[in-house]
């Protein structure tokens, strides 16, 4: 009798564990191409530094990388990213994957007196002509 009870309880336990709630289904917001993306900032600021460009102008370059690990499984050869620093002019970059599979990109900003550069980047959707998943990270050179 006790043996049968244990058997029934085990069976219920196994079936319960097999048909458990799918938590991922309620939290489907981890793809950076999803308009409802709710994950952390998808790019990383690698460096911010001041330099003089070929025209002899001083610029503050912010280098960022969209790491391969942040991308979905099927990786495109290029991603369109819209960038802006502070209120300066935004630019649309066609970022190409490098030999590591990462997507490096940068923005050259005009030096500002505050010396704080807030780098904003978003994924550009060509079909909808819209920018999604904008994130801003502030740095100093």
């Amino acid at each position: 009798m006790m043996k049968n009870l244990i058997l029934v309880m085990s069976l219920i336990f196994v079936l319960t564990s097999c048909l458990k709630k799918i938590d991922k289904a309620d939290n489907l917001n981890t793809n950076i191409f999803d308009k409802e993306y709710a994950g952390p900032c998808w790019f990383t600021i690698e460096d911010t530094y001041t330099y003089i460009n070929g025209n002899g102008q001083t610029r503050v370059r912010t280098e960022a990388v969209l790491y391969e690990s942040k991308m979905p499984g099927l990786k495109p050869s290029s991603v369109k990213i819209n960038c802006q620093v502070n209120d300066q002019q935004s630019i649309l970059l066609n970022v190409i994957t490098n030999y590591n599979g990462d997507y490096p990109f940068y923005y050259d900003a005009i030096p500002e007196s505050s010396n704080e550069y807030c780098f904003e980047a978003g994924i550009y959707l060509e079909a909808e002509d819209s920018i999604i998943n904008k994130f801003t990270v502030c740095t100093q050179p």
Binding site: I12, L19, K21, I22, L28, N31, P72, G73, L74
Partner: protein, 238 residues
């Protein structure tokens, strides 16, 4: 008990057959037409000869017969055998009171059996099957949802992402419904199984199946049987 009885057969071979042939010169045939439901009957002629077939040859004379069939009262019949003629004995047997009582009590027994065993078993089976159907559908949906989630994490296409999310949301809703159905059905099935076990044990311990003796009242009588090879006398000891 019949099982404890010994049946002794004494075969009388051809010499006996010859003597019966000789004696059979003044014989007539009796045919029994017995109206009952089961088609079986036994006839005890003159309280000595047990006949279990619908016709037989008997020496001419007057006879008293008792006819019995299972579930019927023994009924008497008188008939006369004339030389080289066929005598038809027609009898309609009456149901015995004991058999009617047995029938009624057996019917009651079966109703109680269905209430205590058949119905709970069917209910348990019904819930178990329903639970099984819910489980199969839930597993199927779970497979689809997991596949869509895997595709979601793979694609860089926003349109495809939207479609996958809609599909996952719809299937997840159905999946949760199936899960609920499965747990409710399984719970009820287990409850029904427990009830079935309880009612079955209770039924087995408290209700006894009514019985009715199939033994013939002529069981202890000697039988004289004739056939093409001879004759046999069967009587019981014990």
């Amino acid at each position: 008990m019949v099982t404890n009885q010994f049946i002794v057969r004494v075969l009388l071979f051809n010499f006996c057959l010859l003597s019966f042939h000789a004696a059979g010169q003044n014989k007539g045939v009796v045919k029994f037409q017995i109206e009952n439901d089961n088609g079986y009957f036994e006839v005890l002629v003159n309280d000595t000869l047990l006949i279990k077939k619908y016709q037989d040859s008997l020496p001419e004379g007057n006879y008293t017969a008792q006819v019995w069939s299972q579930g019927y009262d023994v009924k008497d019949a008188d008939f006369t055998i004339k030389k080289d003629s066929v005598t038809l004995v027609y009898l309609k047997l009456d149901r015995s009171t004991a058999y009617a009582a047995y029938n009624q009590s057996y019917r009651n027994y079966r109703i109680k059996f269905h209430k205590s065993v058949t119905v709970p078993v069917c209910v348990s089976l019904g819930f178990a099957i329903t639970g099984g159907v819910f489980m199969i559908r839930a597993f199927d949906l779970q497979k689809r949802i997991n596949l869509d989630i895997a595709n979601y994490s793979q694609t860089p296409n926003p349109t495809e992402i939207d479609l996958l999310k809609i599909a996952v949301a719809e299937n997840n809703k159905k999946y949760n419904l199936m899960r609920t159905g499965f747990y409710v059905s399984t719970g009820l099935a287990l409850l029904s199984i427990a009830t079935t076990i309880y009612t079955s044990i209770k039924f087995k311990n408290n209700i006894e199946e009514p019985t009715y003796s199939k033994l013939s009242p002529f069981n202890d009588k000697m039988t004289l049987q004739f056939n093409g090879n001879g004759a046999a006398i069967i009587f019981r000891i014990g």
